[in-house]
Amino acid sequence: MLELKDFCFTVEQDGQSKKILQNIDLKIPQGRFVVITGPNGGGKTTLAKSIMGIVQPTGGTIHYRGQDITELGITERAKLGISFAFQQPVRFKGLTVADLISLAAGKKLSTVQVCEYLSEVGLCARDYVDREVDAKLSGGELKRIEIAGILARGTELAIFDEPEAGIDLWSFNNLIEVFDGMRRRTDATIIVISHQERILAIADEIVVISGGQVVQQGPGAEVLPALLHADYKYTVCKGGMRND
């Protein structure tokens, strides 16, 4: 499904090379719910953005469904069936929620169809359809609209970059239900960047990234207990709040 080989990302900082991702080898099979976790600054977001093509690697390759997509741009990857939910959703003056969800779906949706996607993420749909996706919406509302857009896209691969960041506890509970629903109803591959125990708990597979490298990878049932162990150097967040 998705395979990264010897994947590297290096930036120049103060005249020196800084390795953000180092020789990542990662295989993610079709239909898996994979949570990528690890300490802040470890390279998780860079890795997620690299899969979408937002960040171009400085070394290595990336294959999606057998095709080398290393050189492909964002649009081409999106058309191949990759979705990306931003950690901080983008605001637009003028574009309404209905416009954005329709763009995500790739076709003009009826109000009823838009409402269905919004209802799935716990938004009282009629109140939102015609609202602009701008600064008047709260962080939690934007986040849910972002996720509704991913549902509308209905792609084979969906990447969520820290979906829990900036949302309240109620939204967080709803988020868990959305992910659970997605994995039960579709055969899509879902990659979530997260620190949250409750998201890690529903993972088929957990990948721990630290210092730009994969330091641990395996079935969720095996990896999570180790991460929760008191002696483990990286703290997983419990409940709905960040504590790292």
């Binding site: 964002i74 649009t75 999106a78 959703p89 637009f92 003056k93 003028g94 416009d99 763009l103 790739g106």
Partner: protein, 315 residues
Amino acid sequence: MTDLTDKKPVFDKITKDLLAEVAELHQRPTGAYNIRLNGESADRNSTANVQIVSKEDVSGIDVIIAPGTVGESIHIPVVLSESGINEVVYNDFHIGEGADVLIVAGCGIHNGGAADSQHDGMHRFFVGKGARVRYVEKHYGAGDGSGKRLMNPHTVAELAEDSSMEMETVQIRGVDSTIRRTDAVLQAGSTLIVREKIMTHGQQLGETHFNVEMVGDGASCSVSSRSVAQDDSVQVFYSNIVGNAACSGHSECDGIIMDRAKISAIPEIVANHIDASLIHEAAIGKIAGEQILKLQTLGLTEQEAEAQIISGFLK
């Protein structure tokens, strides 16, 4: 309704296209209307409550709306389809007390020749006590002649106590040069809302002037301009809101700048009363890179993303 070709005068395709563009007229409208074509009134209809009368001293019309008229719409589009026409038109709207009406204006110029075509429209609104008016105007230019398409709309609004006026003004394409003025005086309890959408391209020049004076307690106004300047076009936005009473005013200028274009926003808010509350907001910048990235992740190309952002912004 009657099809525009069913009744004399017969309008040609250019005229019909322009009428559709500026006033969304595909047929003769119901209610009162006046269609001005190439410097003359080409067709007109008055109703029991709305009288349209030609002015005698200057070119233009008086639109007299009886007090208490509710739910009627008045269409007064202007079309210049011949090259080289230069006209100044004075239209006055007398909106009776307690009326609630929609007025759709708009000017379309098709210039296929070498001479400049120019329409300067002076629209004065006398909005009676407690009356409400929604005024929509759209300006549009077309034609591949070398002559310029020039439009200078000037709107004057006098709002009586407890009246309200909502004005939507749109200029999307094809006008080479425009100076747009809106002057309003607001009495107690009256409300003015103005929303301007403007896009310039090529070598075009667009200048907007908003002057609003609130003289009565409880008056309020909100004037906003959303603009996109492309290519080498230049836009200047002036707004001056004066509060002479216990009132509230808000002006806003949002501009997207592209290519080598220039946008200036020159706001002024003047509070002459302790309870006048006035706000101005202005933001000018290019399309945010993250907005394009986001739409690309939905499968749009960079060009498609840009077009979506602009059309949404100007919607």
